[in-house]
């Protein structure tokens, strides 16, 4: 470990692209195109975005019907109300699960995802398998995640093809009447915000 560079790493089974991006970093900083501070800021920006942000929005919507309406009509403004920073050139829209409709989000062309709120998408969301199959056989895909809506529930797939990023607003599970907002948020998983599963009362026991 030589020059105290913050991004040195121990080589193991490492992609050849690791050296390439580090080379680009060195060169860009060396030429003054970017600064280390700007790069570090971006790293911290991404680290601070997590699915817990989405869970907060959902838990608030479950307990405050007026907030829920604001979330559905202007999700960015609702996010700001909770102290989040959803700033992004794309729109951010929450789509509501109902007893008669279950929503599923995908980006077949790349991996569009509401990163400004939720952070990085899961690996499976970015996979060729999910991107190919979610539009054509959403029920088979959800079955792989252990979730199966009834036949009479409409499955609505949203392909994020353009300037909108989608997040599912799941339904509040049964038997959660006694839970406070924090406990409710703990039930809301990253997967439920994409729509491959739903929050369940049973998930609370997992801690």
């Amino acid at each position: 470990m030589s020059d105290g560079h913050p991004h040195e790493e121990v080589p193991q089974e490492r992609s050849p692209y690791a050296a390439r991006i580090r080379a680009m970093e060195d060169l860009l900083v060396g030429k003054g195109v970017l600064t280390e501070a700007e790069i570090q800021d971006r790293i911290e920006y991404m680290e601070s975005r997590t699915p817990a942000n989405g869970a907060k929005l959902v838990a608030r919507a479950w307990t405050d019907p007026a907030f829920k309406e604001r979330l559905l009509s202007n999700a960015k403004a609702a996010a700001r109300e909770l102290g989040l920073d959803p700033t992004h050139e794309a729109e951010f829209i929450a789509v509501e699960n109902k007893p008669e409709v279950h929503n599923l989000i995908v980006c077949t062309l790349c991996s569009c995802y509401p990163r400004a709120v939720l952070g990085r998408p899961p690996d499976w969301y970015k996979s060729f398998e999910y991107r190919s199959r979610a539009v054509r056989e959403p029920r088979a895909v959800m079955r792989e995640f252990g979730f199966e809506p009834e036949e009479n529930v409409e499955v609505a797939v949203f392909d994020s093809t353009a300037d909108v990023r989608y997040m599912v607003l799941p339904m509040r599970p049964e038997r959660t009447e006694g839970m406070d907002e924090e406990e409710l948020a703990a039930l809301v998983t990253r997967d439920a915000l994409v729509g491959v599963s739903v929050p369940r009362f049973e998930d609370a026991a997992a801690n």
Binding site: L109, R136, E137, R139, A140, E154, A156, V157, D159, A162
Partner: protein, 96 residues
């Protein structure tokens, strides 16, 4: 100034276009309806090459019945798919 409003029946143009395009092949030639008028955005097909993308294009959320997209769709006929499509990729259904 938008060509379509909510509820209009539309078809995705069955066209090919070289370069960066955000209308997926699986929707080409498929018919659906305008679910929502999402706003005006610079054209990504031009932005992709460093052009301004102006004039902005109207973006629509278009709804489709899944059986209308996929032959032999393995799910209930009530299932739906929504995609966000730019105005220049849409034509009124029945045109042509």
């Amino acid at each position: 100034m938008t060509a379509f409003t909510r509820g209009d029946r539309v078809r995705v143009r069955p066209a090919g276009k070289p370069g960066h395009v955000r209308t997926p092949d699986y929707l080409k030639g498929r018919s659906g309806w305008i679910s929502s008028v999402l706003g005006h955005f610079p054209n990504p097909e031009d932005l992709a090459y460093g052009l301004s993308g102006i004039p902005a294009r109207t973006l629509y959320r278009v709804g489709f019945r899944q059986p209308d997209i996929w032959t032999g769709y393995e799910g209930p006929a009530g299932d739906r798919l929504y995609a966000d499509v730019y105005e220049h990729w849409l034509e009124p259904e029945g045109e042509r």
